[in-house]
Symmetry: C2
Subunit: 369 residues, 2 copies
């Protein structure tokens, strides 16, 4: 366990040499469009599989050295413009007292998921993120040093509804019907749980900034199973609350503001609301047409995304063409290229490289015009 | 095997006593808003579980008597305004020569899915639906008699892309990445497979009409994993082709036109296109706001849907309130109430009844105004 004050940003981090990602997040001038990939530190890399071989997933998450190494691996191969700390969104439910295992071939599993509102009593009411999640903060600080200012380091969290649905479903789910049952049957208990999660998440994100994170992404991965009404009641208010409170606390702490990204996958109906929710950047999945996203967000935010990851199964030529179309759709201002979801394990690293190269090359062409 | 001509609509079907569903599909005057539920003949009914107990799923599909009984069960409980024949979308891949098993707890499984384009050779090039799928036609004819004109009987099929994705994935999938790999890597082979499927589907739907189906629904269940560009290339053209060819053939055969419904789940980006694709009705999932759906489809089609199935986990009061809001959003003209997806097995039949009752009661109130 580390002392809370030890997370105050040390002044001796190496100087940042490529701030393109941060400038794009703030809508400032850039020389090329920055690009990174969700799950860029992932199983598609042979060196990742080798590093992780035979090791328990959450043990790896708890090792700052392992997280640092995995975070840096993709940067050795590709000229990504940002890195995202290797970790998992389910460390937050763990910090709240729930057991989570990673079962190979099955994914994350909660042996004792929340079933009824009385199960909320099993959650810790006071969570000291600085003791429970110190391993994430240490990983961030270590990586900020080891990355040597090459690119900015992004911290992240799962959003309250997404974490709630995991905690009730006990793992992945096609319909999320157990968790959604709570929303319709136990709206008060649902709000109670979402509020508890929000409180922990705010402290967790603040801790990440203190530890050295230069941007933050909030993953609302399970937006697609909500309708617009339920989104406005059970997801959006907490997403907003997180951004506002984190920004206030950063200010109070005398730290520099960091750009915040919200990625509500499959939440097409929420785009207008998300563009007015205190996040600098809205991430998009591939079902959103780039031009319509610009119209709907009206220049209020930068946009991030959104190539279909499966486009990477194509040829380098087809990838280049799809990237060109995507860049022309989004335009060069206030735009961060990414996929519309994480990389899949069976993807060819060569094609990931082709994606990065296509973004850089096409955007330099576009910016010359 | 039955002779092709034996499917010419017999003239002795009982007279239809409740055509509200058909009138709403055509945008005509109604006294109440018609309602049915996707998967209304399903595991949430104890009598369904009892009828199906210990029997192989596809054996049941091949028994016209069993399909008829399962189709009629929900009508004995609830005043639904339409019935949908009990069957499965995967009978089409079976008719094309693929083996499909239903594995309890796992869902449909293809022991030998299509892996590479050369596997297309394993599919029958000529499929005589009148011999391969005669059991569906017999089930429809039998049910048209046994339903005694109570409500119209809907026939259905899976759409080409949805069936293609099952045939390649070999079962359910979170990402459909194997099937999508084909779209990006083997676009020509993909179009070949989609065309073959379309040809079979057109004959299959025509056969259903000849056997007695009074409306047809085409399920494009896997739209959500496509982006707008891929939808326009690999889904929409085939959906359009199916509607046009079926309508032409119905005309040629001297039969009466039947309303056709297209349900592209999670295809929010395709709503405008679908409203101009020769279908009378567009089905909606619950992520689409009713009022915005009306604006986007501009009165060109009737709409069907779209309550979140999970709303049925709430109380009767909350269901009634959600239904009221939904009906006010869609309005009473050219509207068929339904869920935005099928009923889940753990749903309480009482609440399904409350849903049906709420639609009927609220719509009678609205129509009085």
């Amino acid at each position: 366990m580390m002392d809370k004050d030890s997370f105050i940003l040390p002044k001796d981090f190496p100087e940042l040499r490529n701030d393109t990602f941060l400038r794009a997040a703030r809508g400032e001038e850039i020389e090329h469009i920055p690009v990174w990939c969700m799950r860029q530190a992932g199983r598609y890399l042979p060196e990742f599989r080798e590093s992780r071989a035979g090791k328990d997933f959450f043990e790896t998450c708890r090792s700052p050295e392992a997280c640092c190494e995995l975070t840096l691996q993709p940067l050795r191969r590709f000229p990504f413009d940002a890195a995202i700390i290797f970790s998992d969104i389910l460390v937050v439910p763990q910090a709240m007292g729930m057991e989570v295992q990673m079962c190979p071939g099955k994914g994350p599993t909660f042996p004792e998921p929340l079933k009824e509102p009385e199960d909320l009593q099993r959650l810790k009411t006071q969570v000291d993120v600085y003791s429970e999640l110190d391993y994430v903060f240490k990983a961030i600080t270590l990586t900020r040093h080891k990355i040597e200012g090459k690119v900015p380091l992004i911290g992240f969290t799962g959003a309250p509804w997404t974490l709630m649905s995991y905690m009730i479903e006990g793992g992945g789910s096609a319909t999320h019907s157990k968790a959604k049952r709570w929303l319709y049957r136990y709206p008060e208990a649902s709000h109670k749980l979402l509020s508890q999660l929000t409180d922990v998440i705010v402290e967790y994100l603040l801790g990440q900034v203190k530890a050295g994170a230069q941007a933050l992404q909030v993953f609302e991965s399970h937006t697609g199973c909500l309708g617009p009404v339920e989104f406005k009641e059970f997801s959006l208010p907490y997403l907003r609350d997180i951004a506002r409170r984190v920004k206030d606390k950063i200010k109070e702490s005398g730290l520099d503001n960091v750009p915040m990204i919200v990625f509500a996958k499959d939440g097409h109906y929420g785009l207008e609301d998300l563009s007015e929710s205190a996040y600098e950047v809205v991430g998009l999945d591939w079902t959103i047409d780039p031009r319509s996203a610009r119209v709907r967000t009206g220049g209020k935010v930068s946009l991030q995304g959104n190539m279909d990851p499966c486009a990477l199964y194509g040829t380098k030529e087809s990838i280049s063409e799809i990237v060109r179309r995507m860049l022309e759709g989004f335009g060069t201002k206030g735009y961060i290229a990414n996929l519309g979801h994480g990389l899949y394990p069976d993807m060819d690293p060569e094609n990931v490289g082709a994606f990065v190269e296509a973004v850089h090359n096409h955007s330099r062409q576009l910016l010359k015009r």
